[in-house]
């Protein structure tokens, strides 16, 4: 078998976090009763007309700037024509030949290696409604019900260059893109609610050749895991076809998560011919440089810059990558740095115990169920650094902090967990233990270093683990030598 190169490009749809829809004043709120956030415009009633939401343009510019794009001054909208029951007008208002953003990029890191992924374009468009099927899937349903609450919700479509060469790169790109959209606050990026959706264009070509293979477009990738699995499956499928002497068909496929396969969506429908033309119901938008500059000035620190800052503050790179990938986590971390100077330790706690807890509970860091404030986590780190707590005791305090929102110092007192570091008290204990264990002393003096551990253990046992282990060690050594 030959070696193959995988070529991946992603088309990502992000719902913009506006209060109202793209072309009418209906609410964009998620999860309302069917057909309650609708009006003549988004229902495609005869005679209704669209009016563009200013914030949609603003958010598209914001995203474009954050993704290093050139913002195009002249903008017009176009109609994309196709029939589907969830598309109220049976055309989608979108941008065809003059998208608002061109030519950006995202830098990703996979296995320690940096790579730049190009962004071809970003354009503004409207979302369609939702079909609720009578059966389990679209093909087993006898009928469906259309809910137009989502119809007209603004989207940006971010189209990458075919620059990715593996599922891991695609995932890294998607994670980085999600982080940037979160940081810029243009999208809430809830993949499970569909506010961030991804289609992947995938092809394979034999190593040594330069021409891309025929691509398939995979839809319905609702999680990072689905994206990775679908790419891995699809690459294997395509290689198999080519190896068997066949040809990959250019088509749209859907990811079947339950069965872990991609399936052809080809129906007997005619070929797609979207018949784009300029939307005559809207006038062009000419962007003013002053407005673009104003938006630029309000851009927050982006994940890449934040990472550089963390690295400069001695946070290990792996930790930094994980922290900056989520704006919420990064903001939590930043808040924690106000309470402690030991950022390395803080980052370890965050990606270790904190992340472990959140994953287990299936909640996010800003969930009220998670009771540890950034200040308290920082203080916990400080208590260890000051020798008040051993790392073992710290875990106990941490567990307690998860139960009640109280400062770690208070909890230490409440639980009586304060470490015994008083030299007088410890000296007395050391003397007692030496007196009570002559055999161990003899063993130690005979060269059995293990005996020391036993003696330390005896002291820890006597203090219920609260003795400062470092001091106990040191004092025992002094007495025995």
């Amino acid at each position: 078998m030959k070696n193959y190169i995988t070529v991946i490009g992603l088309e990502v749809h992000a719902e913009l976090k506006t209060k109202t829809k793209a072309f009418c004043s209906c609410s964009t709120e998620f999860g309302a009763e069917p057909n309650t956030h609708v009006c003549p415009v988004c229902l495609g009633m005869p005679g209704a007309l669209p009016v563009l939401n200013k914030r949609v343009v603003e958010f598209a510019i914001r995203a474009g700037l954050a993704l290093n794009c050139d913002i195009q001054k002249f903008n017009k909208m176009d109609r994309k024509n196709y029939f589907y029951p969830d598309l109220a007008k049976n055309y989608q208002i979108s941008q065809w030949d003059e998208p608002i953003c061109l030519g950006g990029h995202i830098d990703i890191r996979v296995n320690g290696e940096k790579k730049r992924i190009g962004i071809t374009r970003i354009h503004m468009e409207e979302d369609a409604g939702k079909l609720v099927h009578s059966g389990l899937t679209i093909s087993t349903s006898d009928y469906s019900a259309v809910d137009y609450n989502r119809a007209g919700v603004p989207l940006i479509e971010i189209v990458s260059e075919p620059d990715m060469r593996s599922a891991a790169e695609a995932r890294a790109y998607m994670e980085q893109l999600k982080a940037i959209l979160e940081y810029t606050d243009v999208c809430d990026c809830k993949m499970q609610e569909g506010s961030l959706r991804c289609d992947a264009n995938i092809s394979v070509m034999p190593e040594g050749t330069t021409e891309f293979g025929t691509r398939a477009e995979i839809k319905n990738l609702n999680s990072f895991r689905a994206l990775e699995r679908a790419i891995e499956y699809e690459v294997e499928r395509q290689i198999e076809i080519v190896e068997d002497g066949g040809h990959v068909v250019q088509e749209t496929r859907t990811w079947d998560d339950a069965n872990g396969v991609t399936l052809s969506m080809r129906s007997k429908e005619e070929a797609h011919d979207y018949r784009y033309f300029p939307e005559p119901d809207l006038v062009p938008v000419n962007l003013d440089q002053a407005w673009i500059d104003e938006i630029k000035a309000t851009l927050p620190e982006l994940p890449s810059a934040r990472k550089e800052r963390l690295l400069a503050e001695d946070v290990p790179e792996d930790n930094a990558d994980i922290i900056v990938a989520s704006k919420k986590v990064a903001d939590y971390f930043d808040a924690g740095t106000k309470a402690t100077k030991n950022l390395k330790a803080l980052s370890n706690w965050l990606i270790g115990d904190v992340a472990g807890y959140l994953n287990a509970e299936g909640i996010e860091i800003d969930d009220p169920e998670f009771r540890i404030t950034p200040d308290h986590l920082g203080e916990l780190v400080n208590l260890i650094d000051k020798g008040v707590l051993s790392s073992k005791l710290a875990k106990q305090v941490f567990a307690e902090m998860l139960k009640e929102n109280e400062a770690p110092e208070a909890l230490v007192k409440k639980l009586g967990l304060e470490q015994v570091s008083d030299a007088g008290e410890l000296g007395k204990l050391v003397d007692e233990v030496i007196a009570a264990n002559p055999q161990s002393i003899a063993d130690f003096k005979a060269g059995k270093k293990k005996a020391l551990g036993f003696l330390v253990g005896q002291i820890m046992k006597a203090t219920h683990g609260k003795a400062n282990p470092g001091m106990v060690n040191k004092m025992l050594m002094e007495k025995l030598q």
């Binding site: 229902l43 005869p46 005679g47 007309l49 024509n81 469906s144 011919d273 005559p280």
Partner: protein
């Protein structure tokens, strides 16, 4: 004079002076409808109960001593492609024959604020696609001057209603001449305002970049009165112009001295009926007499206007009419086993053949491989057509042309036989829509008993000069006073 033959401005005075009640007037018009509607067929839907209730309300306001608006209490008719909340709006199409809008068009909301009265909804070519009202799914509308003839179209019902005394004023819509040509065929006044003057919100879209709502009335004064109410910027229509609306009745002065009137030579060449031309030239003489200066001008791209229109309008229509899919409203084929089949059958059974022809023509010119050759080319030629007008308006204040090269012709289903021949007759009105300019048609004579219409075309947003020129001619002639005989062999 009969009440139903009166003008808005005459009736307004009588109402305000309590010489007449709105209920009395409204009943008189409904009586007239009862009398002649069978011959004319102007209406798709009547709304007598609500109309009389509204009339009573206006009468109460007058009794209470209120000063009423010029259109208050005066019954008018609305073309059936303008959305009226709670009142069936069909576009004279089977696909919408049970459709009850849930919102008012912007113009309807404005008219309601002025306490006017809606008699009902008028017949039209299906989705405004046609120039005879024969493509209506609902019924045939007859010309009040000769019942065997078409009323023109697509606003045939709105124009016939005025000519036959079935309404005091009416609204039409004009995409390629659909107000002016039926006004001309029926011996009444019709204005297509500047594109963007009147909100299109609630006007069921045919060709978005060309559609414009306007009044059809008995005289120029009434047209100015209706314009005053319907014009103005609307936040729901991105293409409505944020400009002040003047009081158009102030423009009604008898004065064309020194007004430069251009005669575009391309509108007077072959294709124009000799008898129509004769009447138009008499009108030109009249304007000279009244002190206007007549200048010959050229609009060299006129010959391309018709085909340019029949590419752009169907292209836009193919998308605008895609929403009639049987999902949310309108006709649905209930036997279909799948949604795509349901949509296909609903559209196939719900649309008439002219609508289908235009949807498909539009689909074709936008489809992959043909966009540049047809659609883009037409959009470029549209630019040249606009530039022709810019050039002409450097030399003149208004342009004068026949509204239609012909007078109303017999109803014989010509359109089904030879659509292109009928399309060609729109050559005098189409360029005005292409350039977004205001145009008015006023009566200027008769040939063989059928009215001839004179078209005046103005600069963008200069409806005032247009109204002044039209008013001056009207006041110097009697053509607008002639009553239609409702004769013919029908």
């Amino acid at each position: 004079m009969k009440l139903y033959e009166s003008t808005v401005h005459e009736l307004h005075e009588q109402l305000q002076n309590k010489q007449l009640s709105s209920v009395e007037l409204t009943k008189a018009v409904y009586d007239r409808i009862d009398e002649v509607e069978e011959k004319i067929g102007a209406y798709v839907t009547l709304d007598k109960e609500n109309a009389l209730a509204q009339a009573a309300k206006v009468d109460a306001m007058i009794a209470a001593g209120e000063t009423i608006k010029p259109l208050a209490g005066i019954p008018g008719a609305i073309k059936d492609n303008i959305s009226t909340k709670g009142l069936r709006t069909t576009c004279s199409s089977h696909i919408l024959d049970n459709f009850i809008p849930v919102y008012d068009a912007h113009v309807i909301a404005n008219l309601r604020k002025d306490e006017t009265i809606f008699l009902g909804k008028t017949n039209m070519d299906e989705f405004a696609m046609g120039s005879t009202t024969e493509t209506s799914y609902m019924k045939k509308t007859h010309n009040a001057w000769n019942l065997d003839c078409v009323p023109g179209g697509s606003s045939g019902g709105s124009a016939a209603a005025i000519a036959a005394g079935e309404a005091i004023w009416s609204l039409g819509s004009d995409t390629g001449g659909s107000i002016r040509q039926p006004a001309s065929f029926n011996g009444v006044v019709g204005i297509k305002p500047t594109y963007g003057r009147v909100s299109r919100y609630g006007c069921v879209a045919f060709a978005s970049s060309l559609d414009q709502i306007g009044p059809i009335t008995r005289d120029v004064t009434d047209a100015a009165i209706v314009l005053n109410t319907i014009c103005g910027v609307d936040a729901h229509d991105s293409t409505s112009l944020p400009v002040d609306v003047p009081d158009f009745t102030k423009a009604l002065r008898q004065d064309v001295k020194g007004l430069r009137i251009g005669l575009p030579k391309e509108y007077f060449g072959e294709g124009i009926d000799a008898k129509v031309k004769e009447q138009i030239m008499l009108a030109v003489e009249k304007y000279k007499e009244l002190g206007a200066e007549i200048v010959e001008v050229s609009l060299p791209h006129t010959e391309y206007a018709v085909i340019t229109y029949y590419i752009i309008a169907p292209a836009e229509a193919s998308a605008n009419l895609a929403r009639y899919d049987g999902v949310r409203y309108g006709y649905r084929n209930k036997e279909a086993k799948s949604a795509p089949e349901m949509t296909k059958l609903s559209r196939t059974e719900g649309f008439g053949s002219e609508v289908k022809r235009r949807i498909m023509l539009g689909t074709y010119v936008l489809s992959s491989g043909y966009y540049d050759a047809y659609y883009k080319k037409a959009m470029q030629v549209r630019t040249l057509i606009r530039k022709d007008f810019d050039e002409a308006f450097r030399k003149v204040d208004v342009l004068l042309t026949p509204t239609s090269p012909v007078v109303a012709y017999p109803m014989d289903g010509k359109i089904a036989m030879d659509p292109l021949a009928i399309y060609m007759l729109d050559v005098t009105t189409i360029p005005v829509n292409m350039a977004g300019l205001p145009g008015i048609s006023i009566p200027c004579g008769f040939t063989d008993g059928m009215p001839v219409g004179l078209q005046l075309i103005g600069k963008a947003l200069d409806e005032e000069t247009l109204l002044r020129a039209a008013y001056t001619f009207e006041q110097a002639t009697d053509f607008h006073k002639a009553a239609a005989p409702l004769g013919g062999n029908k």
